[in-house]
């Protein structure tokens, strides 16, 4: 295999990993505040549909991405209203959000099925992108990839270095104590949920604007759920999301290449690989006390201000 081709494969791995990174980093922030939003799939697909619609109508990838972000944020606001405002069970609300998102995106996207547009352009820096071996991999990705990395870096810095990040972690650790000290539990959680929605929306938009530059209903194909598993896999640490997403991206790409090479394995089995890998990844990090130690202590518990 030439180094050229190797680099090309690595780039597809990065492309496959990017939507997962985006969605998972948002969900990570949401969960660190103590909210389990299982509606990632629904927010993501809405981002994909509206992202494509926005970009197609305006002709601008940036506007498309913004539309995706807005769609995800609105969905998250709905989720926040239910689970934070009304203290409704987060698991059931997340399911409802996903079902709703899958349906609504299908409705809104009806007119866009079969349309195509150009994928988001890749970065090109004279000299740097042309460097041999790694040039294109490092300096020639599409802008979403760099945005994802910046988001992860920013999140890591925010959580560990800022006062607001500290308050967010405290809220996810013990909402009763946070409330007693006068930290705004519900506001913090709502904002964290909105951030999660914005990221999921952007992740969805990435799918229709860069990954496969067209819209088809249900095209997220469980990526939202995989992102949820990634957060567990990463033990709620930002940089580990990147690692996990690259592993998943690798599995996906490998699967595609295996399909093409056709080793005699049924294609369906290869297609099932990412889902099976998710289960395996969950097992790795689920066992024993390590997981309990890493998970935000108040994750998934509804908060009702005590008297």
């Amino acid at each position: 295999m030439t180094s050229e081709m190797f680099q090309l494969i690595l780039m597809t791995v990065v492309t496959a990993a990017t939507p997962l990174i985006l969605a998972a980093i948002g969900e990570l922030v949401t969960e660190r505040a103590g909210v389990l939003n299982l509606g990632v799939e629904g927010m993501m697909i809405m981002g994909a549909a509206l992202g494509f619609a926005g970009a197609y109508a305006s002709g601008s990838t940036t506007i498309g991405a913004l539309c995706g972000i807005v769609a995800g944020t609105l969905m998250a606001a709905l989720f926040g209203l239910l689970t934070i405002g009304l203290a409704i069970n987060q698991v059931a609300s997340g399911l409802a959000l996903t079902i709703f998102g899958l349906g609504l995106s299908g409705l809104l996207g009806t007119g866009f099925v079969g349309l195509k547009r150009d994928a988001a352009p890749q970065l090109h820096i004279q000299g740097l992108s042309d460097l041999p071996y790694m040039g294109e991999l490092v300096f020639g990705e599409d802008p979403f990839v760099y945005a994802a990395i910046l988001l992860v870096a920013g999140t890591a810095w925010f959580l560990s270095r800022t006062r607001a990040g500290l308050a967010l972690r405290a809220t996810g650790d013990n909402h009763q104590s946070a409330h007693a000290l006068g930290l705004p539990v519900r506001r913090t959680r709502f904002l964290a949920t909105l951030f999660g929605g914005a990221c999921a929306g952007l992740a969805g938009a990435y799918l229709t604007l860069a990954y496969t530059p067209f819209w088809s209903p249900g095209m997220t194909a469980g990526r939202g759920w995989i992102a949820l598993a990634l957060v567990v896999f990463a033990s709620w640490r930002p940089w580990r999301i990147v690692l996990g997403a690259l592993l998943f991206g690798g599995a996906t790409v490998l699967q595609l290449h295996a399909q093409a090479a056709s080793f005699g394995l049924p294609g369906q089995l290869l297609s099932a690989a990412p889902y099976l890998a998710t289960i395996v990844a969950l097992l790795f990090l689920s066992s024993g006390a390590r997981r309990n130690a890493a998970a935000p202590a108040a994750l998934g518990q509804p908060f009702i201000a005590p008297r």
């Binding site: 006062r163 650790d173 006068g182 008297r307």
Partner: protein, 515 residues
């Protein structure tokens, strides 16, 4: 001296006609009080008298329905704890408001004013810790600290804001007597610096030691104020409860028979990552005996309870015996069938399920032992009759025919769960913190029931953090510290100080095993 100051300056804090209603329930009704600079003011009253509500209002956590809060004579509206902190109010919570998975420094940083630079925080913590002689390691995560250390964080966090008024809510409830002395010394120093204290406690001896004014609340109303140093603990208690409290009647002599509950060399790793492992615990309780286990919360008591009840199984079958029969690996139902009964510490969600009816809650612990089940079906008629018996015998006050457990007050629910077990006439009763958060009358009923049960020949193992309770009804007392149990002592031949030393792990035996 105080009177003199009162003449010149407006009080630091004055409350006028504070009313707080929750729906139709009035938690605070027309409460007024003044606190001056340098004054230690006690707020005393029973559970449910409205102390916590009033304190939350002062700390800005609740807004009063009516009434005025004034600092230095200026009425203010407290929008939240941050506003209260800006007025110089600091608070040390009873149930610590700490974050287990954050470090000491992070816990403290959270409440400092927004612009405080976090860089110099470490030094400032060290300085406060040093000045008030409260050693603190800023980089430790809270879950790894003892109750006493956690309280130091609360106090340090409060002091770093340089408060003029410090509210302390039952601060000694989780401390050993020695730790409590150390706390009082710190509090004396704070008073000398001119800071005011609002001290909430039901331990009247402490109030008499520390405070020069006391406000007494009963059922949400202020029923009086006094100088506690001029009163006896007994007269204060009468003011608080509104009637004289009966003493517990103990039988003159108790017939101590054979060993009913024997624990030998029980070691068990905790399931909880922040829990305490049991380490070689041994004891025996005889017929007719009440055996007390003292200790600061979180030293392995709940793990020990779980091992005794069979909610967790022991490593060896012989580690626990009921009437000489090994049961270490038998589950809780098996142990109940052998005549044991259990009352866990937490009423809501452990001893009882809040949304279940009282009958359902009766079935919860008695389904296997009173013939309630045949062919997998529950005889609800029989369960209702037995539930009614518990309610009548223990005078459980409730609204409605068969209400959900959560609608009962703490004292009444506790009477129900204790009564549920005692009416099964257990041969062995293991009971954890039976009077925690319960009003005085219910507490007296429960203690009397335990004494009577032992007098009928049962073995009672009482786990409690309340030394008064242990000394009142126990025959022997042992101390649990970091998962180890001290040698048992005759309750009559041991002082509180000795028990207190054992509670800190500094007893004569040190950390050596005593058997």
């Amino acid at each position: 001296m105080i009177n003199e100051r009162e003449m010149h300056a407006a009080p630091l804090l004055s409350l006028r006609g504070i009313v707080k209603r929750f729906g139709s329930f009035t938690a605070n009704d027309q409460i007024s009080l003044d606190i001056h600079e340098g004054e230690a003011h006690a707020l005393i009253g029973e559970n449910g008298a409205g102390k916590s509500t009033l304190v939350k209002i002062i700390y800005g956590l609740l807004e009063p329905t009516e009434g005025v809060i004034a600092f230095h004579g200026q009425p203010v509206r407290l929008a939240g704890p941050e506003a209260a902190r800006a007025q110089g109010v600091g608070m040390v919570f009873q149930h610590f408001s700490l974050f287990d998975n954050l470090t000491v420094a992070e816990n403290i940083a959270l409440v400092l004013p927004r612009k405080t630079p976090l860089s110099g925080l470490r030094d400032r913590i060290a300085e406060v810790a040093d000045r008030y002689r409260m050693p603190l390691d800023p980089d430790r995560e809270v879950w790894s600290l003892s109750a006493g250390e956690r309280q130091r964080i609360e106090i340090a966090r409060c002091l770093l804001q340089d408060p003029r008024l410090i509210i302390l809510d039952e601060p000694t409830s989780v401390l050993t007597p020695q730790e409590a002395y150390a706390l009082f010394e710190t509090l004396d120093r704070l008073k000398d610096e001119g800071r005011a204290l609002l001290y909430i406690s039901h331990k009247l001896e402490e109030v008499r030691r520390l405070c020069e004014t006391a406000t007494i609340l009963r059922l949400g109303r202020k029923v009086g104020s006094c100088d506690p140093r001029q009163e006896s603990s007994r007269s204060l208690a009468a003011l608080m409860v509104g009637s004289a409290i009966c003493d517990i009647r103990s039988p003159a002599t108790r017939d101590l028979g054979s060993e009913r509950l024997t624990v030998s060399h029980l070691s068990l790793a905790s399931e909880d990552i922040h829990g305490v492992d049991l380490d070689d615990v041994s004891l025996s309780v005889r017929c007719g005996e009440i055996f007390g286990i003292a200790g600061v919360a979180g030293n392995g008591q709940s793990e020990f309870f779980a091992a005794l009840s069979g909610e967790r199984l022991a490593q060896s079958h012989e580690a626990i015996r009921l009437d000489r029969l090994a049961v270490g690996k038998s589950d809780i139902t098996e142990r109940r069938k052998r005549g044991a009964a259990f009352v866990p510490e937490e009423r809501n969600g452990h001893a009882a399920a809040g949304d279940f009816s009282l009958t359902g809650n009766f079935v919860l612990s008695r389904h296997a032992t009173v013939g309630l089940i045949s062919r997998g079906l529950i005889h609800f008629g029989k369960a209702r009759a037995l539930t009614a018996e518990v309610i009548a015998t223990f005078d459980v006050r409730k609204a409605g025919e068969d209400p959900a457990a959560r609608t009962l007050s703490g004292g009444n629910l506790q009477k129900f769960v204790v009564g549920r077990e005692i009416l099964s006439e257990p041969k062995i009763l293991v009971i954890n913190q039976p009077t925690w958060g319960v009003d005085a009358a219910a507490a007296a009923t429960i203690r009397q029931a335990l004494v009577d049960l032992a007098a009928r020949g049962a073995a009672v193992l009482l786990i409690s953090q309340d030394l008064d309770e242990l000394f009142e009804i126990c025959d022997r007392i042992a101390v649990m510290h970091e998962g180890r149990l001290s040698k048992a002592r005759e309750a009559r031949g041991v002082t509180r100080e000795e028990i207190g030393l054992l509670m800190t792990g500094d007893g004569p035996e040190g950390s050596a095993h005593a058997h």
